[in-house]
Protein backbone atom coordinates (compact mmCIF):
# COMPACT_ATOMS: atom_id res chain seq x y z
CA UNK A 1 0.00 0.00 0.00
CA UNK A 2 2.91 2.31 0.73
CA UNK A 3 4.12 2.10 -2.87
CA UNK A 4 0.69 3.00 -4.23
CA UNK A 5 0.40 5.79 -1.70
CA UNK A 6 3.52 7.36 -3.20
CA UNK A 7 2.14 7.01 -6.75
CA UNK A 8 -1.27 8.40 -5.80
CA UNK A 9 0.42 11.34 -4.07
CA UNK A 10 2.42 12.09 -7.20
CA UNK A 11 -0.71 11.98 -9.36
CA UNK A 12 -2.84 14.13 -7.05
CA UNK A 13 0.05 16.56 -6.73
CA UNK A 14 0.29 16.76 -10.50
CA UNK A 15 -3.48 17.47 -10.82
CA UNK A 16 -3.23 20.29 -8.27
CA UNK A 17 -0.09 21.79 -9.82
CA UNK A 18 -1.49 21.59 -13.33
CA UNK A 19 -4.81 23.15 -12.35
CA UNK A 20 -3.66 25.91 -10.03
CA UNK A 21 -0.07 26.67 -11.06
CA UNK A 22 0.95 25.62 -14.55
CA UNK A 23 -2.26 26.66 -16.31
CA UNK A 24 -2.03 30.23 -15.02
CA UNK A 25 1.70 30.53 -15.81
CA UNK A 26 1.16 29.59 -19.48
CA UNK A 27 4.75 28.38 -19.75
CA UNK A 28 6.30 28.14 -23.23
CA UNK A 29 6.68 24.57 -24.49
CA UNK A 30 4.60 23.28 -21.59
CA UNK A 31 2.74 20.79 -23.78
CA UNK A 32 5.84 19.74 -25.73
CA UNK A 33 8.53 19.47 -23.04
CA UNK A 34 7.52 20.23 -19.45
CA UNK A 35 4.35 18.15 -19.25
CA UNK A 36 5.83 15.08 -20.98
CA UNK A 37 8.89 15.33 -18.73
CA UNK A 38 6.67 15.30 -15.64
CA UNK A 39 4.84 12.24 -16.92
CA UNK A 40 8.06 10.42 -17.82
CA UNK A 41 9.30 11.03 -14.30
CA UNK A 42 6.05 9.78 -12.69
CA UNK A 43 5.98 6.80 -15.04
CA UNK A 44 9.58 5.89 -14.21
CA UNK A 45 8.93 6.09 -10.45
CA UNK A 46 5.78 3.97 -10.82
CA UNK A 47 7.54 1.29 -12.84
CA UNK A 48 10.38 1.23 -10.29
CA UNK A 49 7.90 0.86 -7.42
CA UNK A 50 6.10 -2.02 -9.14
CA UNK A 51 9.10 -3.99 -10.37
CA UNK A 52 8.63 -6.67 -7.70
CA UNK A 53 4.99 -7.29 -8.66
CA UNK A 54 3.59 -8.98 -11.71
CA UNK A 55 0.34 -9.33 -13.63
CA UNK A 56 -0.48 -12.76 -15.01
CA UNK A 57 -2.40 -12.66 -18.29
CA UNK A 58 -4.12 -15.72 -19.71
CA UNK A 59 -5.11 -15.95 -23.35
CA UNK A 60 -3.33 -12.74 -24.31
CA UNK A 61 -3.42 -13.34 -28.06
CA UNK A 62 -7.11 -14.20 -28.06
CA UNK A 63 -7.93 -11.14 -25.96
CA UNK A 64 -5.81 -8.86 -28.15
CA UNK A 65 -7.60 -10.03 -31.27
CA UNK A 66 -10.98 -9.59 -29.61
CA UNK A 67 -10.17 -6.07 -28.46
CA UNK A 68 -8.95 -5.10 -31.93
CA UNK A 69 -12.18 -6.41 -33.48
CA UNK A 70 -14.39 -4.38 -31.15
CA UNK A 71 -12.38 -1.20 -31.58
CA UNK A 72 -12.18 -1.40 -35.37
CA UNK A 73 -15.96 -1.87 -35.46
CA UNK A 74 -16.25 1.21 -33.22
CA UNK A 75 -14.13 3.25 -35.66
CA UNK A 76 -16.31 2.14 -38.59
CA UNK A 77 -19.59 2.96 -36.81
CA UNK A 78 -18.22 6.23 -35.41
CA UNK A 79 -17.23 7.61 -38.79
CA UNK A 80 -20.41 6.30 -40.45
CA UNK A 81 -22.32 8.47 -37.96
CA UNK A 82 -20.86 11.42 -39.85
CA UNK A 83 -23.00 10.53 -42.86
CA UNK A 84 -26.04 11.06 -40.64
CA UNK A 85 -24.96 13.99 -38.47
CA UNK A 86 -22.50 15.67 -40.79
CA UNK A 87 -18.83 16.24 -40.14
CA UNK A 88 -16.79 18.94 -38.50
CA UNK A 89 -13.21 19.99 -39.12
CA UNK A 90 -10.65 19.10 -36.50
CA UNK A 91 -8.75 22.20 -35.36
CA UNK A 92 -5.43 20.46 -34.88
CA UNK A 93 -2.42 21.11 -37.07
CA UNK A 94 -2.43 19.15 -40.36
CA UNK A 95 1.29 19.55 -41.07
CA UNK A 96 3.45 16.45 -40.55
CA UNK A 97 5.53 18.13 -37.89
CA UNK A 98 2.42 19.46 -36.18
CA UNK A 99 0.80 16.01 -36.16
CA UNK A 100 3.92 14.40 -34.71
CA UNK A 101 4.17 17.15 -32.12
CA UNK A 102 0.55 16.63 -31.08
CA UNK A 103 0.99 12.86 -30.94
CA UNK A 104 3.97 13.34 -28.65
CA UNK A 105 2.39 16.09 -26.53
CA UNK A 106 -1.04 14.54 -26.03
CA UNK A 107 -1.06 10.88 -27.01
CA UNK A 108 2.32 10.16 -25.45
CA UNK A 109 0.95 11.36 -22.10
CA UNK A 110 -1.90 8.85 -22.34
CA UNK A 111 0.53 6.00 -22.79
CA UNK A 112 2.58 7.09 -19.76
CA UNK A 113 -0.70 7.20 -17.79
CA UNK A 114 -1.40 3.58 -18.69
CA UNK A 115 1.98 2.39 -17.46
CA UNK A 116 1.26 4.12 -14.16
CA UNK A 117 -2.19 2.51 -14.05
CA UNK A 118 -0.63 -0.89 -14.56
CA UNK A 119 1.88 -0.24 -11.77
CA UNK A 120 -0.95 0.65 -9.38
CA UNK A 121 -2.85 -2.51 -10.24
CA UNK A 122 0.22 -4.75 -10.00
CA UNK A 123 1.03 -3.48 -6.51
CA UNK A 124 -2.43 -4.11 -5.07
CA UNK A 125 -4.15 -6.69 -7.26
CA UNK A 126 -6.55 -8.00 -4.66
CA UNK A 127 -7.92 -4.83 -3.04
CA UNK A 128 -11.18 -3.52 -4.51
CA UNK A 129 -10.63 -0.06 -3.03
CA UNK A 130 -7.49 0.20 -5.15
CA UNK A 131 -9.49 -0.17 -8.35
CA UNK A 132 -12.01 2.42 -7.23
CA UNK A 133 -9.22 4.85 -6.39
CA UNK A 134 -7.59 4.25 -9.77
CA UNK A 135 -10.85 5.07 -11.58
CA UNK A 136 -11.34 8.25 -9.54
CA UNK A 137 -7.76 9.50 -9.81
CA UNK A 138 -7.48 8.87 -13.55
CA UNK A 139 -10.85 10.55 -14.12
CA UNK A 140 -9.46 13.64 -12.38
CA UNK A 141 -6.28 13.44 -14.45
CA UNK A 142 -8.20 13.55 -17.70
CA UNK A 143 -10.56 16.42 -16.85
CA UNK A 144 -9.78 20.04 -17.75
CA UNK A 145 -10.48 22.09 -14.65
CA UNK A 146 -9.85 25.47 -16.18
CA UNK A 147 -13.14 27.39 -16.08
CA UNK A 148 -14.71 24.24 -14.61
CA UNK A 149 -17.37 26.20 -12.74
CA UNK A 150 -18.66 27.73 -15.99
CA UNK A 151 -19.83 24.31 -17.09
CA UNK A 152 -22.24 24.35 -14.14
CA UNK A 153 -23.56 27.89 -14.60
CA UNK A 154 -27.12 26.61 -15.01
CA UNK A 155 -28.94 23.30 -14.94
CA UNK A 156 -28.97 22.83 -18.71
CA UNK A 157 -25.21 23.39 -19.07
CA UNK A 158 -24.55 21.15 -16.07
CA UNK A 159 -26.71 18.40 -17.53
CA UNK A 160 -25.10 18.46 -20.97
CA UNK A 161 -21.55 18.72 -19.60
CA UNK A 162 -22.07 15.90 -17.13
CA UNK A 163 -23.64 13.71 -19.81
CA UNK A 164 -21.15 14.37 -22.59
CA UNK A 165 -17.90 14.78 -20.65
CA UNK A 166 -17.92 13.67 -17.02
CA UNK A 167 -19.81 10.39 -17.32
CA UNK A 168 -17.88 9.23 -20.43
CA UNK A 169 -14.59 10.14 -18.72
CA UNK A 170 -15.52 8.07 -15.65
CA UNK A 171 -16.61 5.12 -17.80
CA UNK A 172 -13.46 5.35 -19.90
CA UNK A 173 -11.33 5.28 -16.76
CA UNK A 174 -13.27 2.26 -15.55
CA UNK A 175 -12.92 0.28 -18.77
CA UNK A 176 -9.22 1.08 -19.01
CA UNK A 177 -8.71 -0.15 -15.47
CA UNK A 178 -10.59 -3.33 -16.33
CA UNK A 179 -8.53 -3.84 -19.50
CA UNK A 180 -5.28 -3.53 -17.57
CA UNK A 181 -6.63 -5.96 -14.97
CA UNK A 182 -7.38 -8.65 -17.55
CA UNK A 183 -4.59 -8.03 -20.03
CA UNK A 184 -1.99 -5.57 -18.84
CA UNK A 185 -0.94 -2.18 -20.18
CA UNK A 186 -1.01 -3.30 -23.81
CA UNK A 187 -4.82 -3.49 -23.84
CA UNK A 188 -5.41 -0.07 -22.34
CA UNK A 189 -2.88 1.48 -24.72
CA UNK A 190 -4.66 -0.13 -27.69
CA UNK A 191 -8.00 1.26 -26.46
CA UNK A 192 -6.65 4.74 -25.91
CA UNK A 193 -4.90 4.75 -29.28
CA UNK A 194 -8.12 3.92 -31.14
CA UNK A 195 -10.18 6.51 -29.24
CA UNK A 196 -7.74 9.39 -28.83
CA UNK A 197 -5.60 9.37 -31.99
CA UNK A 198 -8.18 9.88 -34.83
CA UNK A 199 -8.94 13.61 -34.16
CA UNK A 200 -5.21 14.37 -34.35
CA UNK A 201 -4.56 12.66 -37.68
CA UNK A 202 -7.79 12.94 -39.69
CA UNK A 203 -9.08 16.29 -40.97
CA UNK A 204 -12.76 15.67 -40.21
CA UNK A 205 -14.69 13.83 -37.53
CA UNK A 206 -18.44 13.30 -37.08
CA UNK A 207 -20.27 16.37 -35.80
CA UNK A 208 -21.99 14.78 -32.82
CA UNK A 209 -24.02 16.96 -30.49
CA UNK A 210 -23.80 16.50 -26.73
CA UNK A 211 -26.31 13.65 -26.87
CA UNK A 212 -24.31 11.81 -29.54
CA UNK A 213 -21.10 12.27 -27.58
CA UNK A 214 -22.79 11.02 -24.42
CA UNK A 215 -24.17 7.99 -26.24
CA UNK A 216 -20.82 7.05 -27.77
CA UNK A 217 -19.07 7.70 -24.46
CA UNK A 218 -21.38 5.29 -22.66
CA UNK A 219 -21.98 2.59 -25.27
CA UNK A 220 -18.34 2.06 -26.29
CA UNK A 221 -16.98 1.20 -22.80
CA UNK A 222 -20.05 -0.94 -22.20
CA UNK A 223 -19.62 -2.86 -25.45
CA UNK A 224 -15.90 -3.37 -24.84
CA UNK A 225 -16.58 -4.58 -21.30
CA UNK A 226 -19.31 -7.04 -22.37
CA UNK A 227 -17.19 -8.61 -25.10
CA UNK A 228 -13.85 -8.63 -23.28
CA UNK A 229 -15.46 -10.01 -20.13
CA UNK A 230 -16.82 -12.90 -22.20
CA UNK A 231 -13.40 -13.60 -23.69
CA UNK A 232 -11.72 -13.29 -20.29
CA UNK A 233 -14.19 -15.61 -18.57
CA UNK A 234 -13.81 -18.18 -21.33
CA UNK A 235 -10.06 -18.19 -20.86
CA UNK A 236 -9.84 -18.11 -17.08
CA UNK A 237 -12.90 -19.78 -15.59
CA UNK A 238 -13.85 -23.45 -15.70
CA UNK A 239 -17.51 -23.04 -16.59
CA UNK A 240 -20.08 -25.29 -18.15
CA UNK A 241 -21.53 -24.45 -21.55
CA UNK A 242 -24.69 -23.23 -19.89
CA UNK A 243 -22.78 -20.94 -17.53
CA UNK A 244 -20.71 -19.56 -20.40
CA UNK A 245 -23.89 -18.62 -22.25
CA UNK A 246 -24.58 -16.08 -19.51
CA UNK A 247 -21.49 -14.12 -20.55
CA UNK A 248 -22.07 -14.44 -24.29
CA UNK A 249 -22.18 -10.92 -25.76
CA UNK A 250 -24.79 -12.07 -28.27
CA UNK A 251 -27.23 -11.88 -25.36
CA UNK A 252 -26.67 -8.13 -25.29
CA UNK A 253 -27.18 -7.50 -29.00
CA UNK A 254 -30.94 -6.89 -28.58
CA UNK A 255 -30.14 -4.48 -25.74
CA UNK A 256 -27.69 -2.47 -27.83
CA UNK A 257 -30.00 -2.55 -30.82
CA UNK A 258 -32.83 -1.26 -28.65
CA UNK A 259 -30.63 1.54 -27.28
CA UNK A 260 -29.58 2.52 -30.80
CA UNK A 261 -33.15 2.51 -32.12
CA UNK A 262 -34.48 4.41 -29.11
CA UNK A 263 -31.73 7.03 -29.39
CA UNK A 264 -32.39 7.42 -33.11
CA UNK A 265 -36.12 7.73 -32.49
CA UNK A 266 -35.71 10.35 -29.76
CA UNK A 267 -33.26 12.57 -31.65
CA UNK A 268 -35.36 12.50 -34.81
CA UNK A 269 -33.33 10.28 -37.06
CA UNK A 270 -36.38 8.51 -38.40
CA UNK A 271 -39.52 9.70 -40.14
CA UNK A 272 -41.35 9.79 -36.81
CA UNK A 273 -40.13 11.64 -33.73
CA UNK A 274 -41.61 11.97 -30.22
CA UNK A 275 -42.03 15.46 -28.74
CA UNK A 276 -42.99 16.25 -25.17
CA UNK A 277 -45.95 18.64 -24.85
CA UNK A 278 -44.89 21.61 -22.73
CA UNK A 279 -48.10 23.64 -22.55
CA UNK A 280 -51.81 23.07 -22.22
CA UNK A 281 -52.81 25.04 -25.32
CA UNK A 282 -54.09 21.91 -27.09
CA UNK A 283 -56.09 20.58 -24.17
CA UNK A 284 -58.19 18.40 -24.12
CA UNK A 285 -56.85 16.81 -27.33
CA UNK A 286 -53.55 16.32 -25.53
CA UNK A 287 -52.24 17.84 -22.34
CA UNK A 288 -49.03 19.12 -20.84
CA UNK A 289 -46.88 16.10 -20.00
CA UNK A 290 -48.17 13.97 -22.86
CA UNK A 291 -45.94 13.07 -25.81
CA UNK A 292 -46.99 13.40 -29.43
CA UNK A 293 -45.37 11.52 -32.29
CA UNK A 294 -44.63 13.85 -35.18
CA UNK A 295 -44.40 12.61 -38.75
CA UNK A 296 -41.87 14.68 -40.70
CA UNK A 297 -43.33 16.14 -43.88
CA UNK A 298 -41.82 16.82 -47.28
CA UNK A 299 -43.11 19.61 -49.55
CA UNK A 300 -45.76 17.43 -51.16
CA UNK A 301 -47.07 16.29 -47.77
CA UNK A 302 -47.19 19.91 -46.58
CA UNK A 303 -49.29 20.93 -49.61
CA UNK A 304 -51.77 18.20 -48.75
CA UNK A 305 -52.37 19.48 -45.21
CA UNK A 306 -55.94 20.49 -44.55
CA UNK A 307 -58.15 22.08 -41.92
CA UNK A 308 -58.22 19.93 -38.80
CA UNK A 309 -54.68 18.62 -39.06
CA UNK A 310 -52.46 19.23 -36.03
CA UNK A 311 -49.05 20.43 -37.14
CA UNK A 312 -45.70 21.28 -35.59
CA UNK A 313 -44.24 24.54 -36.90
CA UNK A 314 -41.56 27.07 -36.15
CA UNK A 315 -42.77 30.32 -34.63
CA UNK A 316 -39.93 32.72 -33.93
CA UNK A 317 -37.42 30.69 -31.94
CA UNK A 318 -39.85 28.04 -30.72
CA UNK A 319 -41.66 25.00 -32.01
CA UNK A 320 -45.45 25.16 -31.65
CA UNK A 321 -48.00 22.36 -32.06
CA UNK A 322 -51.46 23.68 -32.97
CA UNK A 323 -54.39 22.77 -35.19
CA UNK A 324 -54.98 24.20 -38.68
CA UNK A 325 -58.29 26.11 -38.64
CA UNK A 326 -58.06 27.73 -42.06
CA UNK A 327 -55.93 27.71 -45.18
CA UNK A 328 -55.26 30.85 -47.16
CA UNK A 329 -52.68 32.43 -49.47
CA UNK A 330 -50.28 35.35 -49.18
CA UNK A 331 -49.90 38.14 -51.76
CA UNK A 332 -47.63 35.92 -53.87
CA UNK A 333 -49.99 32.94 -53.93
CA UNK A 334 -48.03 30.91 -51.34
CA UNK A 335 -50.08 28.74 -49.02
CA UNK A 336 -50.53 30.01 -45.47
CA UNK A 337 -52.04 28.15 -42.53
CA UNK A 338 -54.07 29.84 -39.84
CA UNK A 339 -53.64 27.90 -36.62
CA UNK A 340 -55.14 27.82 -33.15
CA UNK A 341 -54.66 25.87 -29.97
CA UNK A 342 -57.76 23.83 -29.08
CA UNK A 343 -57.77 25.37 -25.60
CA UNK A 344 -57.12 28.94 -26.79
CA UNK A 345 -59.91 31.44 -27.42
CA UNK A 346 -58.28 33.13 -30.38
CA UNK A 347 -56.35 32.11 -33.45
CA UNK A 348 -52.57 32.45 -33.47
CA UNK A 349 -51.29 35.92 -34.36
CA UNK A 350 -48.84 34.82 -37.06
CA UNK A 351 -49.86 32.78 -40.07
CA UNK A 352 -47.68 29.78 -40.82
CA UNK A 353 -45.74 29.53 -44.06
CA UNK A 354 -45.24 26.17 -45.72
CA UNK A 355 -41.47 26.19 -45.09
CA UNK A 356 -42.03 26.69 -41.34
CA UNK A 357 -44.10 23.52 -41.03
CA UNK A 358 -41.99 20.68 -39.64
CA UNK A 359 -44.41 17.82 -39.19
CA UNK A 360 -47.86 16.52 -38.42
CA UNK A 361 -49.09 14.89 -35.22
CA UNK A 362 -49.94 11.24 -35.83
CA UNK A 363 -50.75 9.96 -32.36
CA UNK A 364 -50.51 10.83 -28.69
CA UNK A 365 -48.89 8.92 -25.83
CA UNK A 366 -50.22 10.13 -22.49
CA UNK A 367 -47.97 11.14 -19.60
CA UNK A 368 -44.57 9.93 -20.89
CA UNK A 369 -43.48 13.49 -21.66
CA UNK A 370 -43.53 14.47 -17.98
CA UNK A 371 -39.80 13.86 -17.31
CA UNK A 372 -38.94 16.29 -20.14
CA UNK A 373 -41.51 18.80 -18.83
CA UNK A 374 -40.08 18.63 -15.32
CA UNK A 375 -36.49 18.96 -16.56
CA UNK A 376 -37.42 21.85 -18.83
CA UNK A 377 -39.20 23.52 -15.92
CA UNK A 378 -36.19 23.06 -13.68
CA UNK A 379 -33.87 24.50 -16.35
CA UNK A 380 -36.02 27.56 -16.99
Amino acid sequence: MKKNFIIYSLLIGYVLLDTFVFSSLNLPYYNEIINPALWIMMCGISIYLSQDSSLRVKGEKDKTQSLLIVLIIYIIIYFLLGLIFGFERTPYSKEIFGILKNLWSFIGILFFQEFIREALIKNEKKKKINYILIVIVFTLLNMNFYNFANHFADLQTSFTYTSSVIIPTILESAILTYLVYIGGVKFSIIYRAFVAIPPFIVPIIPDLDWFGLALVGVVLPLAVYVYMNYVHVNRTERLSKRERRKYNPAVYVPVFAFIALLAGFVIGLFKYQPIAVMSGSMSPTFNRGDAVVIKKLDTQDKNELEVGDIIQFVSGTKYVIHRIVDVTNDDYGNKLFITKGDHNNTIDIDKVHLENVKGKVTFVVPFIGYPSVWLSGAIS
Binding site: S23, S24, N26, N31, K61, D62, Q65, S66, L68, I69, I72, I73, I75, I76, F79, L80, G82, L83, G86, F87, E88, R89, T90, P91, Y92, S93, E95, F97, G98, N102, F106, N142, M143, N144, Y146, N147, N150, V165, T169, P199, V202, P203, I204, I205, D207
Partner: protein, 188 residues
Amino acid sequence: MEARHKNILIMALIAIVLIMAVGYAAFTTTLTINGTAEISTKWDIHIKSITPSATATATTQGGETVYTSAGSIKHTIKDNYTAEFEAVLLSPSEYVTYTVVVENSGTINAKVAPNGITFSDATMGTTNPTDAILFTYEGIAPGDQLNANGGTDTFTVTATYNPAITSQPSAAQLEKSVTMTLNYIQTA
Protein backbone atom coordinates in the same frame (compact mmCIF):
# COMPACT_ATOMS: atom_id res chain seq x y z
CA MET B 1 -14.01 -18.20 -32.57
CA GLU B 2 -10.68 -19.66 -33.60
CA ALA B 3 -7.61 -17.42 -33.64
CA ARG B 4 -7.28 -17.85 -37.41
CA HIS B 5 -10.87 -16.72 -37.97
CA LYS B 6 -10.34 -13.73 -35.71
CA ASN B 7 -7.29 -12.71 -37.73
CA ILE B 8 -9.32 -12.91 -40.94
CA LEU B 9 -12.05 -10.81 -39.35
CA ILE B 10 -9.51 -8.20 -38.23
CA MET B 11 -8.06 -8.00 -41.75
CA ALA B 12 -11.53 -7.62 -43.23
CA LEU B 13 -12.40 -4.83 -40.80
CA ILE B 14 -9.14 -3.01 -41.55
CA ALA B 15 -9.92 -3.31 -45.25
CA ILE B 16 -13.34 -1.71 -44.62
CA VAL B 17 -11.68 1.15 -42.73
CA LEU B 18 -9.22 1.71 -45.61
CA ILE B 19 -12.04 1.73 -48.16
CA MET B 20 -13.89 4.26 -45.99
CA ALA B 21 -10.76 6.41 -45.81
CA VAL B 22 -10.45 6.39 -49.59
CA GLY B 23 -14.13 7.25 -49.85
CA TYR B 24 -13.84 10.15 -47.43
CA ALA B 25 -10.84 11.52 -49.33
CA ALA B 26 -12.68 11.21 -52.62
CA PHE B 27 -15.96 12.69 -51.44
CA THR B 28 -14.71 15.38 -49.04
CA THR B 29 -16.14 18.14 -51.23
CA THR B 30 -19.61 16.61 -51.10
CA LEU B 31 -19.70 15.64 -47.44
CA THR B 32 -21.62 17.91 -45.10
CA ILE B 33 -19.05 19.79 -43.04
CA ASN B 34 -20.68 21.86 -40.34
CA GLY B 35 -17.73 23.86 -39.03
CA THR B 36 -14.93 23.35 -36.53
CA ALA B 37 -15.11 20.87 -33.67
CA GLU B 38 -16.22 22.37 -30.39
CA ILE B 39 -15.47 21.35 -26.86
CA SER B 40 -13.06 18.70 -25.77
CA THR B 41 -10.98 18.84 -22.63
CA LYS B 42 -8.01 20.02 -24.72
CA TRP B 43 -9.70 22.24 -27.35
CA ASP B 44 -12.15 24.70 -25.84
CA ILE B 45 -12.53 27.98 -27.69
CA HIS B 46 -15.78 29.84 -27.33
CA ILE B 47 -17.42 33.23 -27.50
CA LYS B 48 -17.31 34.29 -23.89
CA SER B 49 -19.41 37.43 -23.98
CA ILE B 50 -20.98 40.06 -26.20
CA THR B 51 -21.60 43.52 -24.77
CA PRO B 52 -23.55 46.06 -26.78
CA SER B 53 -23.39 49.79 -26.50
CA ALA B 54 -25.54 52.16 -28.48
CA THR B 55 -26.49 55.74 -28.98
CA ALA B 56 -30.02 55.03 -27.87
CA THR B 57 -31.61 55.21 -24.46
CA ALA B 58 -31.49 51.92 -22.60
CA THR B 59 -34.40 50.55 -20.62
CA THR B 60 -35.03 47.18 -19.09
CA GLN B 61 -38.02 45.15 -20.22
CA GLY B 62 -38.59 41.66 -18.84
CA GLY B 63 -34.99 41.40 -17.69
CA GLU B 64 -33.57 42.28 -21.10
CA THR B 65 -31.92 45.55 -22.03
CA VAL B 66 -33.84 47.29 -24.78
CA TYR B 67 -32.66 50.45 -26.49
CA THR B 68 -35.50 52.84 -27.29
CA SER B 69 -35.71 55.89 -29.47
CA ALA B 70 -33.19 54.18 -31.73
CA GLY B 71 -35.16 51.02 -32.22
CA SER B 72 -33.88 47.90 -30.52
CA ILE B 73 -30.82 45.70 -30.62
CA LYS B 74 -30.33 42.06 -29.80
CA HIS B 75 -27.54 39.54 -29.88
CA THR B 76 -27.51 35.77 -29.41
CA ILE B 77 -24.59 33.46 -28.83
CA LYS B 78 -25.69 30.39 -30.80
CA ASP B 79 -22.76 28.09 -30.09
CA ASN B 80 -19.06 28.30 -29.29
CA TYR B 81 -18.19 29.89 -32.63
CA THR B 82 -21.41 31.51 -33.84
CA ALA B 83 -23.32 34.59 -32.79
CA GLU B 84 -26.17 36.56 -34.27
CA PHE B 85 -26.42 40.36 -34.12
CA GLU B 86 -29.58 42.31 -34.76
CA ALA B 87 -30.07 46.05 -34.98
CA VAL B 88 -32.92 48.43 -35.67
CA LEU B 89 -31.60 51.93 -36.36
CA LEU B 90 -34.07 54.72 -37.03
CA SER B 91 -31.89 57.68 -37.95
CA PRO B 92 -28.47 58.42 -39.51
CA SER B 93 -26.87 59.34 -36.19
CA GLU B 94 -27.56 55.99 -34.56
CA TYR B 95 -25.18 53.07 -34.27
CA VAL B 96 -24.61 49.96 -32.15
CA THR B 97 -21.23 48.57 -31.19
CA TYR B 98 -20.97 45.01 -29.94
CA THR B 99 -17.80 44.13 -28.03
CA VAL B 100 -17.11 40.44 -28.51
CA VAL B 101 -14.75 38.50 -26.24
CA VAL B 102 -13.47 35.10 -27.34
CA GLU B 103 -11.76 32.86 -24.80
CA ASN B 104 -9.48 29.83 -25.09
CA SER B 105 -10.17 27.62 -22.07
CA GLY B 106 -8.38 24.62 -23.55
CA THR B 107 -4.77 23.58 -23.29
CA ILE B 108 -3.80 24.17 -26.93
CA ASN B 109 -2.72 27.55 -28.34
CA ALA B 110 -4.84 28.68 -31.26
CA LYS B 111 -5.00 31.29 -33.97
CA VAL B 112 -7.67 32.67 -36.29
CA ALA B 113 -7.82 30.46 -39.39
CA PRO B 114 -7.14 31.86 -42.88
CA ASN B 115 -10.88 32.08 -43.53
CA GLY B 116 -10.99 33.67 -40.10
CA ILE B 117 -14.20 35.42 -39.39
CA THR B 118 -17.20 35.17 -41.69
CA PHE B 119 -20.53 37.00 -41.74
CA SER B 120 -23.79 36.08 -43.39
CA ASP B 121 -24.12 39.63 -44.75
CA ALA B 122 -23.07 39.61 -48.39
CA THR B 123 -22.74 43.41 -48.51
CA MET B 124 -19.92 43.54 -45.96
CA GLY B 125 -16.71 44.76 -47.52
CA THR B 126 -18.35 45.71 -50.83
CA THR B 127 -18.10 49.19 -52.31
CA ASN B 128 -21.27 51.31 -52.46
CA PRO B 129 -23.54 49.01 -50.45
CA THR B 130 -27.19 49.93 -50.71
CA ASP B 131 -28.53 48.48 -47.46
CA ALA B 132 -29.77 51.01 -44.93
CA ILE B 133 -27.86 49.32 -42.10
CA LEU B 134 -24.24 48.30 -42.51
CA PHE B 135 -22.26 45.91 -40.34
CA THR B 136 -18.47 46.16 -39.97
CA TYR B 137 -15.96 44.53 -37.67
CA GLU B 138 -12.62 45.60 -36.24
CA GLY B 139 -9.88 44.14 -34.07
CA ILE B 140 -9.62 40.61 -35.42
CA ALA B 141 -7.78 39.19 -38.41
CA PRO B 142 -6.51 35.83 -39.70
CA GLY B 143 -3.45 34.75 -37.75
CA ASP B 144 -4.39 36.51 -34.50
CA GLN B 145 -3.15 34.38 -31.62
CA LEU B 146 -5.33 33.10 -28.81
CA ASN B 147 -3.28 31.50 -26.06
CA ALA B 148 -4.43 28.49 -24.09
CA ASN B 149 -5.53 28.43 -20.46
CA GLY B 150 -7.64 31.54 -20.44
CA GLY B 151 -6.26 33.65 -23.26
CA THR B 152 -8.84 36.11 -24.63
CA ASP B 153 -9.27 38.17 -27.75
CA THR B 154 -11.55 41.20 -27.99
CA PHE B 155 -12.96 42.76 -31.11
CA THR B 156 -15.96 44.84 -32.10
CA VAL B 157 -18.86 44.46 -34.51
CA THR B 158 -20.63 47.68 -35.35
CA ALA B 159 -23.96 48.39 -37.00
CA THR B 160 -24.27 51.87 -38.50
CA TYR B 161 -26.79 53.74 -40.58
CA ASN B 162 -25.57 53.88 -44.18
CA PRO B 163 -24.50 57.52 -44.78
CA ALA B 164 -25.08 57.10 -48.52
CA ILE B 165 -28.82 56.63 -47.98
CA THR B 166 -30.59 59.91 -48.70
CA SER B 167 -34.25 58.85 -48.88
CA GLN B 168 -36.26 57.41 -45.99
CA PRO B 169 -35.94 53.60 -46.03
CA SER B 170 -38.91 51.35 -45.26
CA ALA B 171 -39.42 49.92 -41.78
CA ALA B 172 -38.20 46.50 -42.95
CA GLN B 173 -34.98 48.02 -44.31
CA LEU B 174 -34.22 49.65 -40.97
CA GLU B 175 -33.95 46.25 -39.31
CA LYS B 176 -31.05 43.94 -40.05
CA SER B 177 -29.43 40.87 -38.56
CA VAL B 178 -26.21 39.07 -39.38
CA THR B 179 -24.69 35.80 -38.25
CA MET B 180 -20.99 35.73 -37.42
CA THR B 181 -18.96 32.50 -37.47
CA LEU B 182 -15.45 32.25 -36.06
CA ASN B 183 -12.87 29.71 -37.15
CA TYR B 184 -9.80 28.89 -35.06
CA ILE B 185 -7.05 26.34 -35.66
CA GLN B 186 -4.09 25.15 -33.65
CA THR B 187 -1.00 27.33 -33.73
CA ALA B 188 1.78 25.39 -35.44
